[in-house]
Symmetry: C2
Amino acid sequence: MTAEQTFSRPDSLQVPAPLQIGMVIYPRLTLLDLIGPQTALGMHGITHLVAERLEPVVSDSGIALIPTTTYEECPRDLDVLFVPGGEGTADAMEDATLLAFLRNRAETARYVTSVCSGSLILAAAGVLQGYRATTHWTSLDVLTAFGVTADASRVVSDRNRITGGGVTAGIDFGLTLLAHLRGEPAARMTQLAMEYDPQPPFDAGSPALAGEQVVTLVKQFVAPIHLRTMQIAKAWRGHRPETIA
Amino acid sequence: MTAEQTFSRPDSLQVPAPLQIGMVIYPRLTLLDLIGPQTALGMHGITHLVAERLEPVVSDSGIALIPTTTYEECPRDLDVLFVPGGEGTADAMEDATLLAFLRNRAETARYVTSVCSGSLILAAAGVLQGYRATTHWTSLDVLTAFGVTADASRVVSDRNRITGGGVTAGIDFGLTLLAHLRGEPAARMTQLAMEYDPQPPFDAGSPALAGEQVVTLVKQFVAPIHLRTMQIAKAWRGHRPETIA
């Protein structure tokens, strides 16, 4: 709970302007990466689900979301720029239009953020180099290959880059980011509203807890994504789209 | 971790048939109630997002989902029948078509389930009376008013009714249900894939932890929903739609 020390109360008692929250969505994203933080932040602001076009985007679970705005129309100055992870991460890392959008909004966003393998997409956009960041536990070496300082913590804050670990870490990430943006009392109220008093049925949520056999199974499951994202990271030569292989 | 004792390994080494997962969606549902369990269960089966019509359904965060099937077309025999909670709970409790669908599929579903105030909708359908169940901590008294045995535990299993507490309890619920359906090894692997090793930034996830001031704020926030759902519960006289005031 030492993190609690670092959050200050809002400076003013006035009702603050709604947060402008820009969340990129792309084919085969993992919905929970997005919906965890969106639930924590959403009641304090306006969520923009951003895609190239206003057509449904199908997640890696098969459930489709409808974007609310496009790269062009998304507000310029965001409080939060956010990228989820998912099975479609490698394709997103090679989507020059998506990467250009991230680079553009990252220049002015108050916080540049991700959950799970979303940080690999930020790295491919060139906006994480020189920062500490985290990702899904199976992808930490890919972050390193991108020249990012990989940190296996569940939520990593380095200046205005805040990243969360795999999938469910998005809830811890979202409440932490909310405390930065709106102060600790707002985050505590939101945590109670979300009844976030976790009681996992098993001790299997981290590689250290789960044991070697389960770790091997999950690594096999994500092996194709790991291989391709690592290839992209190793071929990466800078943040201009034309240099991304 | 005593719950671990109660889950058995699958009887067969054959690859089991995909789970048939029917998840009702309705206006102003809370997305995280749905996406938490869907992430745990979805990779082991087929998710049917069920609504009256195949039109986008707008959640209480403003994000819209696209149903995959209708009440009419949804498979008859479901492994899981699931209802999320949300700001639209009271309207759903008075939606005779939705309630009739729940009553119908509950007759044959292997598990009849909910997260958060979704259990109030199951109660309004008349399929929870005689069972122990849980809901969001602010709604336990509404369950009682429906003649359901309210239990403040995070996940409550009573025969084939399995219910989860508020919002984020859906992850604990989903992994617990997965262990019932597919055995503990599958649930442990899924927990690691979801990196569910929660580290809440604050101790504020339950009324006991959050303190009186925060509890009062959240109760004020949900007061309109509580008032209306309680009125419906007190007027409830049985499970035939025409008797619901």
